[in-house]
Symmetry: C2
Subunit: 225 residues, 2 copies
């Protein structure tokens, strides 16, 4: 399918390009040059051109990039032009919060089922979706052609559940549990380790340099450096 391996660094920037392109589109702007994008996004124009060119020549010399076209192409590259079917495993606070966050659905990530090991909450509805017992999970995944399982369970049971998930043919796991999941390499795992993120913030707080205290200038950019 692919020729050369594309670095995760590039992939990681695509959603951000998509976000800014979406904003330009909403403003009715039809064309944009790498230089203009670079100004609003706080990235080098060279990097933008390099990144986009990894996937093909989307631009045109003397013109730049067509916003709408580029937007659609990046969506295709990311595979979000098609729907994804997800289940939540773990109906705790976080699991419920994710189900209630409608933006995912708008981007084509559809929650189809919710599973929990606590029999007391099984049968309850969250945003119209019934909470089911874990025993029904394997069958549900196969019958409903589920792509992605969202793991919002404590680390203690996460490894065991991940094993179960890989046995019944899940393709990807969005892992909020604070463990590394030992799954076969053909299953994609995307970790969201919230406490790791918070610790990084903590480090950066304590290591604020004097120099930066001195010349207090606006950065204009919010992403990780």
């Amino acid at each position: 399918m692919e020729e050369k391996e594309i670095s995760q660094a590039v992939i990681g920037r695509l959603p951000r390009y998509l976000r800014y392109l979406g904003e330009l589109k909403d403003e009715g702007i039809e064309r944009v040059s790498s230089q203009e994008l670079s100004d609003i996004m706080q990235a080098t124009a060279s990097q933008i051109r390099q990144d986009l060119n990894t996937f093909g020549g989307f631009g045109q010399q003397g013109y730049g990039y067509n916003v709408g076209y580029l937007y659609d192409e990046i969506r295709k590259i990311l595979g979000i032009d098609k729907e994804h079917r997800l289940i939540i495993v773990g109906a705790g606070h976080l699991g419920q919060a994710l189900v209630n966050y409608t933006n995912f659905e708008r981007r084509g990530f559809i929650f189809r089922g919710i599973f929990d090991c606590n029999p007391e909450i099984c049968g309850e509805q969250i945003r119209g979706i019934t909470v089911r017992p874990m025993e029904e999970m394997a069958g549900f995944i196969r019958e409903n052609d589920i792509d992605i399982a969202v793991l919002t369970i404590p680390k203690t049971s996460a490894v065991e559940v991940a094993k179960k998930l890989s046995d019944c043919g899940i393709k990807g796991i969005w892992n909020f549990a604070h463990v590394d999941l030992p799954v076969p390499a053909y299953i994609q795992v995307e970790n969201v380790h919230l406490s790791d993120s918070l610790m990084k913030l903590s480090y950066n707080l304590s290591s604020v340099r004097e120099e930066s205290e001195a010349d207090r200038k606006v950065d204009g950019n919010g992403q990780n450096r």
Copy 2:
């Protein structure tokens, strides 16, 4: 304070080291070599030594690293040996989920206040913490010596609130809103862009190579590559 800039790549790995060291500690293991750590963590021994050595010589030749000592030192480096005081801005599902997630408190991140612009839910209690109106936020931050604000509000109001926060002397922002925050460089921002993460997963799903389908071997590692 610091001599040479330490790369975010290194910082990003420290929480993971800490996690594995904590597990070793719980198992009662007192010493570990970079080689042993490398085996369980799926990283090269060289990288582990290089990373740790960035902050000083924690190990000893012929012995390895003392698990407890190294654990404490990494905690100090990350600045999580001291308490941090946080507020949540945005008492929606996600904000509530974070408040209810007790693991943060166990690591020294203490939620002190919750703020929301919706007057209807102001006055309510979430895990013993009263939801207050946004007008009280600036005063509260100063009076309670708040370090970190957690932004769990829609992107539409995030930039405005971030401005407010930087005006009243917040040091760090843990940003769950889907925008880049234009704050002064001396304010640390750590972004958790959930939909970006989900899009990365989507990409990796669609780009699974045939080769990896072929030789289905266990990776043993769950983190991003």
